[in-house]
């Protein structure tokens, strides 16, 4: 058999350009993960950083800001702290990462790496390489264990900020999923502040299964909260709960006002991000209510009673 025939056979059999899939009957019996971790150190070299900055500012930001209506709030919170920090956000769409990175000031962005599922983003070489270059991703084992946080620890020790989605995966119905405590443990052990981030609207804009935002420039808001530091001797479970509560409150702040959210928090009335206890379709129905569109220009300006065009808010 000619070389080219062998290559064709292997390329089609092992789905070179697509995600490798185990046969259905073998899925419950996955191989113990003994492959060496995909090395992403090259993605943090000066050349890669320059390439990424160009990609994010010249490609991703114009593209995402053009296809969705992005509103960024709370960046002033970052003035209070110095790197490294861990940005902890809820996660419901592939658009979350570019929005988060592009919304950060350059000095933060260029020193920020993103934790990505090893079994999803690092399962095939070209996906691993492209995401590492574009978003400075590094692999996180979702199954836990020592390897789950090894690279993250090293990066924090080197002064890199991290973006971590503690849910570990995109939400299936738009609501907050089970919250993992690994990131809080990391913050407690290394005494690194966590910056809560709430992202609203991305599930509506580009839910699971879509590879491009829905038409109509759906609104997406991203709101940064005040950094949280682990208290002396604070248990990482407690800290994790504190960070999650901060994310939930930020979402409430985005839906209402800062002060109203504080009042509701004090009264223990912050709306849950876990959604209603209802069948999936109702949860999705509720989750797909877009955040109220604020700002943005009207196509037809409302005329004042005097006939002069009024100013947009």
């Amino acid at each position: 058999m000619a070389v080219i025939d062998d290559v064709r056979q292997v390329a089609s059999g092992w789905r070179w350009t697509r995600r490798p899939l185990a046969p259905h009957s073998a899925e419950p019996d996955p191989a113990p993960y003994d492959e060496p971790e995909f090395n992403t150190d090259w993605a943090r070299t000066p050349a890669a950083r320059a390439t990424r900055e160009a990609l994010l500012t010249a490609v991703f930001r114009p593209l995402v800001w053009n296809q969705t209506t992005v509103r960024v709030e709370g960046l002033d919170r970052l003035d209070e702290i110095a790197a490294p920090v861990v940005f902890v956000a809820n996660h419901s769409s592939h658009v979350d990462t570019p929005i988060l990175l592009c919304s950060l000031p350059k000095r933060w962005r260029e020193r920020t790496a993103v934790g990505a599922a090893a079994d999803y983003f690092f399962d095939i070489w070209w996906r691993a390489a492209t995401t590492a270059l574009a978003f400075n991703t590094f692999p996180i084992e979702r199954t836990g264990g020592a390897r789950a946080t090894g690279t993250a620890r090293r990066l924090l020790a080197d002064g890199w900020n991290l973006v971590v989605f503690p849910e570990g995966t995109r939400s299936k119905d738009g609501w907050l999923g089970p919250w993992r405590h690994g990131v809080a443990r990391l913050c407690c052990e290394l005494n690194v502040p966590a910056v809560p981030v709430a992202i609203r609207g991305s599930f509506v804009a580009m839910p699971r299964g879509r590879s491009w935002p829905k038409p109509g420039r759906p609104p997406v808001s991203i709101r940064y909260g005040p950094p949280l530091r682990p208290g002396p001797g604070e248990d990482y479970h407690d800290f994790s709960v504190r960070v999650r509560s901060a994310v939930v409150r930020l979402a409430d702040e985005d839906a209402t006002t800062w002060y109203a959210s504080l009042r509701r928090e004090a009264a223990g009335e912050t709306p849950s991000l876990h959604g209603p206890a209802a069948p999936t379709w109702r949860r999705v129905w509720e989750a797909t209510r877009s955040p109220v569109r604020r700002g943005g220009s009207r196509v037809w300006r409302r005329r004042s009673r005097t006939g002069a065009p009024s100013k947009d808010r």
């Binding site: 292997v10 073998a26 019996d29 113990p32």
Partner: protein, 525 residues
Amino acid sequence: MTRPGLVLEVDERTPPLIVHQGEGFRLQRFPLGSRVIYPPDPLPGIRDVTEAIRDALLHPLGSEPLPELLRPGMRLTIAFDDISLPLPPMRAPDVRGRVIEQVLEMAARRGVDDVELVVANSLHRRMTPKEIEHAVGERVFRSFWPRALSNHDAEDPERLTHLGVTDQGEDVEINRRAAESDLLVYVNINLVAMDGGHKSVPVGLGSYRSLRHHHNVRTMLESRSYMDPHRSALHSSTTRMGRLLAEHLRTFTIETTLNGTSFPDAFGFLNKREWEWSLADQARFMAAKQANERAPARMRREVWQRVRAPYRVTGVTAGQTEAVHQVTLANVHRQQVTQIDGQADVMVIGLPYICPYNVNSIMNPILVQCLGLGYFFNMYLGKPVVRQGGAMILFHPVPWEFHQVHHPSYVDFFDEVLSETTDPGQIEAKFEQQYAQDEWYRHLYRTSYAYHGVHPFYMWYWGAHAMDWLGDVIVVGGDRGAVARLGFRSASSFADALEMAGETVGSSPRITYLHAPPLTLAEVR
């Protein structure tokens, strides 16, 4: 935690599967719904093998510790498995050598001077000095070769002793030195469930006079299968012989088991399930396949025969033969058994380049038959993988080629016997004695490196159960003349073979592929 065996059901996600084909391999797509039997993942090896051996010798099962059995002035004989185990041969140091070294160290400390080592090669060819050195290690070899380290000679009346007859009338005749020793230490490698136990001494150190009682067509037909010693007439016979031997001879048995890492890193993809191949595995597969196909035949064989498996030792057990073998069998099953529900209409097997009788040699057509219908067909517990009257599809080139030194009687068997009949019963009745007592074959067995004259008969009997059971045997890619001489049919492709098998099993058969090596023992429920 090692993953257990797997029965894969081929679906649209399943990549083409590796199929051995003699000194080569191919990727083969299987029809949707076919089942594929994979062995458990290789077990982790014992971390400190030296300590494990020492522990086994000092804390044996059903016996005093080995040092207590050793005393000055005694006659000590150490026998060990020959070149037929393991497959592929083990990367140095061979575990037999490691065990023998510790036995000898204890013997030296206890002041034992009269020590001899014997290769338990039965009617197999003698091992060359180089092969023996690989098995026992340089220190042992240099200390004992050739004065007190030799191959067993099953045709030397001076070196055989008849110890009696079992209650079933079976002669027990073994190596005289072993029989007249104060202690016989037997060191084995239990690669498959057929090996070891009472099969080691009565067969490995036996003579034709003794072997003919169980190496015959009737015994093979009554062994369902001989990989399941509890349901094997072969093992019942050797057990009777072994128990008779125990009345005359003190035997200290040391059995070892290996894990399923049959191939070195360069062929590491052969140890893995295909959908778990990394990019490097895929690249290695393509490189190895292209290099293999382009290499001259002689070089190809040389490369394959140089493969040394990086096996890890999974068990060392010593003591009384039957007690030891229980533990050993459990270890073998732990590594090889995969459970499967129901039998198939068609069983598919890719035959590799090696079987127990062609190490550093050529796999001739008779050995192809033995490996396929003898060994792989019998890799079952309970009932055969394929139903009675079903079909078997083998992948092998079946070259019409013989090793003139190792297999002289095979050449004549193929030309003279198989051209007349392929029926094992007729062959046994009409030809066996003639070959077994042929002076020229006897001479070659004793002085050259030839298998005994009767050995090709045994190879043929080994497949008797399968021949009796199966409705059709089809060989994909085999030499048409050689395949026809074996009494099988040949097909140029797997699709053709399935089409041909349809004549026997219908148009939509249940297909099961026994994915081996690494070896898999199917427990069919």
